[in-house]
Every structure is written in structure tokens, then in C-alpha cells.
Symmetry: C2
Subunit: 245 residues, 2 copies
């Protein structure tokens, strides 16, 4: 409460010429920074306590301000959730754009997207992206969100189809496979907490490996052997004789 806005004056000192427009432009920018801080604080709170268990007073308190201040930057609670959602989804859309121009097999491009996807879900906005319920939003925003989600879903299906066609992905039903992959990754948001042993990227990586291999044993590959516990290669399709455990 005491040291609010300590840096801005310092920053102003370091800008030499100071055109007449400078100040106002800096203010707009400052406002944008604050607005984003509100969004981030909301995401953090939603993350920890859930949307409905988070009051705007909570969010305000986390920023050392009061509720009307929050409303100064945001029209209502619903919009706050919406913004968090969009922030999360944008990371994934970026992943698609990035991968689009690469000349790789479908599976490799898919893996690239999935990795970013996993990272995004494990990020601060992951919760909002994943657990935001359409019922909590007005029809307009709910429609917006559904469209974005669908776009991502279709993108994954397309990559799967392409991978199947170019032979880099085992033949499968693209729709169901997309559901399975996205579900596994989305679920990260339910159990992942910061300060855990693994980062989001590492988890995404582990998942991609699992998806690639599948459960049924394969002839040992380099990547599979690297991950396996050091045990002599077992012949697949041999039923259990050793007791479990």
C-alpha cells in the first residue's frame, strides 16, 4: 500500500527528450500494464480457488487496491474470465501458426503443437482455458469461446489426418484421437501446480512420448530405450508368468 507506483517516476527520468505527447502515451501504456495485471491476478485467483469462489474483492486485495478500481479496468467478472480464457487460447493458436510453415511430417507437426498445448495448459491461464464453463458466461462470450475451442480441435484433427495420409501416424479415427490427446493435455490443468518437480514443457514432452509409443509393446527404439527403466528387453506378446508387484 505504501510503495505503489514506485517505478514509473524513475522510468520517466530515463527518457531523455520527452516530447509533449510522451506523457499521455506513457499513461495509456501504463493503463494497459495495469489492466493486464488485473487479468493475471484474476487468473491466479481462479486457478487457486475456482471462478465462483473468487470474489472481485479477493482479486482487488491481491493487487492492494479495492473493488471499484478493478471495475475501472474491467467491465465485469465475466469479462475477466473471458480475457483469461483468450489469453490462454492465444498461446495455442500461436503454436499452430508457428508449425504451419514447417516442412515436417504430420506427426512431427502435431507433436510440436501438442508440446505448446501442454505448456499453455500448465501456464497461469491454463485453468481458465480449460475449466471455464460456458454456463458461467453470457451467450455471446460463450459462443466466442466455443468457436475458438472448435478451431483448435479442428486444427488437431487436420494434423492427424495429414499425418495418417503421409504415413507418419498410425491409421486412426481423427476425431476420437483428437479428443483423447486434447483431453489428456487439458487434464494437466487439474493436477499441475507450479513449483512441482516437472515444468509444463517437460510434462508435455513426456506425454508426447507416451502418445507416440502407445501401450502395446514395440520393437525397442532408441527413444523408447532411453526412457525405459534399465531392464533387459522383453519379448512382446508374452503373457505374464511373474507375479504382479
Amino acid at each position: 500500500m505504501a510503495n505503489r507506483r514506485a517505478s514509473p517516476p524513475a522510468a520517466k527520468h530515463s527518457t531523455p527528450p520527452a516530447s509533449p505527447w510522451r506523457a499521455s502515451r506513457e499513461r495509456v501504456r501504463e493503463r494497459e500494464v495495469k489492466r493486464e495485471a488485473v487479468i493475471r491476478a484474476a487468473a491466479h485467483a481462479f486457478n487457486r480457488k475456482g471462478y465462483h469462489n473468487t470474489s472481485l474483492d479477493d482479486i482487488a486485495a491481491a493487487l492492494d487496491v479495492t473493488k471499484p478500481t478493478v471495475y475501472y479496468y474491467v467491465t465485469n467478472k465475466e469479462q475477466l474470465l473471458f480475457e483469461c480464457f483468450v489469453a490462454g487460447v492465444e498461446q495455442i493458436r500461436a503454436a499452430f501458426r508457428e508449425v504451419k510453415q514447417l516442412k515436417l511430417t504430420g506427426r512431427e507437426r502435431l507433436n510440436g503443437v501438442l508440446r505448446h498445448y501442454g505448456e499453455a495448459v500448465a501456464s497461469e491461464f491454463g485453468w481458465c482455458m480449460v475449466r471455464a464453463e460456458e454456463q458461467d458466461l453470457s451467450p455471446a462470450m460463450s459462443g466466442h469461446i466455443k468457436a475458438l475451442k472448435s478451431e483448435i480441435d479442428q486444427g488437431i484433427r487436420r494434423l492427424i489426418r495429414e499425418g495418417v495420409q503421409d504415413g507418419s501416424i498410425h491409421p486412426c479415427d481423427p476425431k476420437m484421437t483428437a479428443f483423447a490427446l486434447a483431453g489428456a493435455l487439458n487434464w494437466i490443468a487439474h493436477w499441475y501446480r507450479e513449483n512441482q518437480s516437472m515444468t509444463g514443457a517437460e510434462i508435455a514432452d513426456a506425454f508426447v512420448t507416451i502418445f507416440e509409443n502407445g501401450l502395446r509393446p514395440r520393437a525397442a527404439t532408441a527413444s523408447a530405450a532411453r526412457r525405459a527403466t534399465p531392464r533387459r528387453a522383453v519379448t512382446p506378446r508374452r503373457a505374464a508368468t511373474r507375479a504382479g508387484r
Copy 2:
């Protein structure tokens, strides 16, 4: 509102001797039936509108009664959620018990559990089981739920470990693999709606096939060929030359 309790009198007529205890015992049973109806109605409502967007008045209205009636069978809203959760989780625990005595490979036992798991998630109580947030419950019940969830998680990991040891499952990290599998299945609750083309069992089946095969191509198997679109077998590891789409 008019035809409430139409059947009980009819049922009583069909019981010939009618011992003196009969009536009271029937009433206890009737009470239990009604209580379960309340739980089911709650699950249904939570399913459609979410926990926080469902008032007890809503649930009561769905049963053509009023709120105090609901409270007559249930102590509070939280307990309602809890009961729904337990009902869902019990289906999965049953799957574990059922599979425990079968003499099968780890992978086959795992598949059996996953199939029941998928069915449970797609059931009426799936939403509650999956999306019930611990923050909405008192510490006591939250702890209870966490324990049940953990039990299931550990059960899946154990099956994976056993499968890896008996050679029926490709070597992998049991913890991460369990997260991936459970996540994919849990996510069904987010998109599945009754009256869809596929039943819960069919979805679970499709997922199990996907998990088994993995994304990287394999030598064609009978089951894989059955699912693939009728296209000539492509040689894996050949990069795409055809343009996408």
C-alpha cells in the same frame, strides 16, 4: 404435482400377507428411493448447469417438490455434490475389484478398467466425479474425495507397472502414463452429452484402441486394419510429399 405417489398404494395391494412390520419397512425403503431420486436429480442438474449455477430450488423443482423437501433428505448442498461424486467413483472401484481376480496380462486388465472408467465418466455422475472441485467442499469431504481419487490413480499406476513387468505394456513412466490415460478419459465428461451418436462404452473402446496403438505407425495388425480407412498401406517414416488437405 397431481400424480405424486401414484404407485405405492398399488404396490401395497400386490403384497399378500402384510405382516405388521411390513408397512414401516416399506416406508424406509421408499424413503431411500426418494433420497436417491434427489441425488440423481442433483447430478443431472449439475451436469447441465454446473454446481454453482444450480440452486436447490432448481433441483426441487425438477422433482416437483420444494426446497425444504430436498433438505428433508439431504443435509446441505455440499453433501449432495459429495454423494454424486461417491456414486460415480464407486463404479470405477467396482471395475478394479472385478478385474483383480482375472488371470490376464497387465495390459488386458488395464484395458478392462479403462473401459469401465470411460463408461462411468460418460454416465450421469461422471460430471460430478470429474469436475467436482475440492474448493467447493469442506476440508473433511475434500479429503475423502482426494483419498478416493488417489486410490484410483494408484490402481492405474499399479496395473501399468505390472503390464510393463510382464511385457504386455511398452516400457514407460507409470505416473505420467496414468495421468495421460485418466486425463483423456476424464475429459469425456466435458464434451460428452447423452443422445450422442456413440455410447460411453463405445467411446471408451475407441480410446483404448488409440492408447494401445500409439501415434507412430506399426506393422498393420488385424485390429488396426479394421479401423483404418480403406487406403493402401503406406510405408512409415516417409516424409510427406503430398500437400496437406
